[in-house]
Amino acid sequence: MSSNDQAPINQDEVRRILDQHKDKTKTALRVCAHCSLCADSCFLYHVHDKDPRYMPSHKFINSLGKLYKKKGKIDRAGFKEIEEIVWRRCVLCTRCYCPLGIDIPEMIAIARDICRSQEVFFQWSELEQPAE
């Protein structure tokens, strides 16, 4: 679903964006109490039968959190997984709620920003069409 599949990852650019948002990311990862209260505010979580992979906290920890913990050292396959999380499992409606004040949409937006910097983004033109 992403473009430019063969190009090498520009680690410097990934780290630059991570560093730009380092304080917020670090605080969010530290503050998250894994209380799962954010889950209830996500409509995608509900429409997917409360699949835990749709919990906002899960989405941010496994996208931006993963990039941060691995210091951006993620290959294209890893970026593909992150793309799946930040585009297919989140529509960035900004309605999710964290009782501890983590701005989860901002975290997802940063993860998308990093993906976009590597030309990884959702290809709407490749979306499967429903059968007629």
Binding site: S3, L92, R112, D113, E119, F121, W124, S125, L127, Q129
Partner: protein, 224 residues
């Protein structure tokens, strides 16, 4: 969602060719979905523009950047430092996104690279049909789910007009009469009473700028 279509290349080129550095800003929202102004379209347009500008011996160079939502300031913060390096901005977002950019960067000229067309539905990849003109006075509940504002050439609330001809519109025999379709659908649902009452003339709220405040949140803003 909002549907848009890219402007002709020549029109875009004319708009930006007097600027040296132009930032083309895409949007990850509706215009990405309708394949008019997402990151892919930004990359494609920039490649074409840079080529024609170079061939015209113009100094203008276009770079690209895509934000997640141009109609929400929360997603524009990352642009601030970037925008300072450019003397002109181009937006591939809908009209709302273009205006928010112009509001946030009032010292920069902002040029739209797409025409915002409609609120519509997805038929196929790259094929979209207008279905709503956001008139602010939805009557779909009484018209069998067929919009007389969008579908009827005259936007009649009490149709059909005298031009309806064997189920087609007088402006073209290839265009079905919206009110014939409304009648047929309501008749099939045994709901013809819904259109027997005369609807009052439309109060065209969209002649002035509208503000949407959801009732549940109105108390937060009542003093503002």
């Amino acid at each position: 969602m909002v549907k848009a279509k890219r402007k002709p290349l020549e029109e875009i080129k004319q708009a930006i060719q007097d600027y040296t550095r132009v930032l083309n800003i895409g949007c990850g929202g509706c215009v990405s979905v309708c394949l008019a102004g997402g990151q892919k379209e930004v990359n494609l347009l920039n490649a074409k523009l840079n080529l024609v500008l170079k061939n015209d011996n113009r100094a203008t160079r276009v770079d690209g950047f895509t934000v997640e939502r141009q109609c929400n300031e929360a997603f524009l913060a990352d642009l601030d430092a970037r925008v300072a390096r450019y003397d002109g901005l181009m937006s591939m977002a809908c009209g709302a996104g273009v205006q928010l950019l112009a509001e946030r960067y009032p010292d920069k000229p902002v040029f739209p690279a797409v025409n915002t067309i409609a609120i519509g539905i997805d038929r196929q990849i790259g094929v979209y049909e207008e279905r709503c003109r956001a008139c602010g006075e939805c009557v779909l509940g009484y018209t069998g789910g067929i919009c007389p504002i969008t579908r009827c050439a005259k936007g009649l609330f009490n149709g059909p007009c005298g031009g309806t001809n064997d189920g087609n519109c007088e402006i073209s025999k290839d265009i079905p009469c919206a009110w014939q379709d409304i009648y047929n659908r309501l008749k099939a649902q045994n709901r013809l009473d819904d259109i027997k009452k005369i609807k009052p003339a439309m109060q065209w709220q969209n002649q002035t700028r509208r503000l949407v405040v959801q009732d549940e949140y109105a108390s937060r803003y009542k003093d503002k």
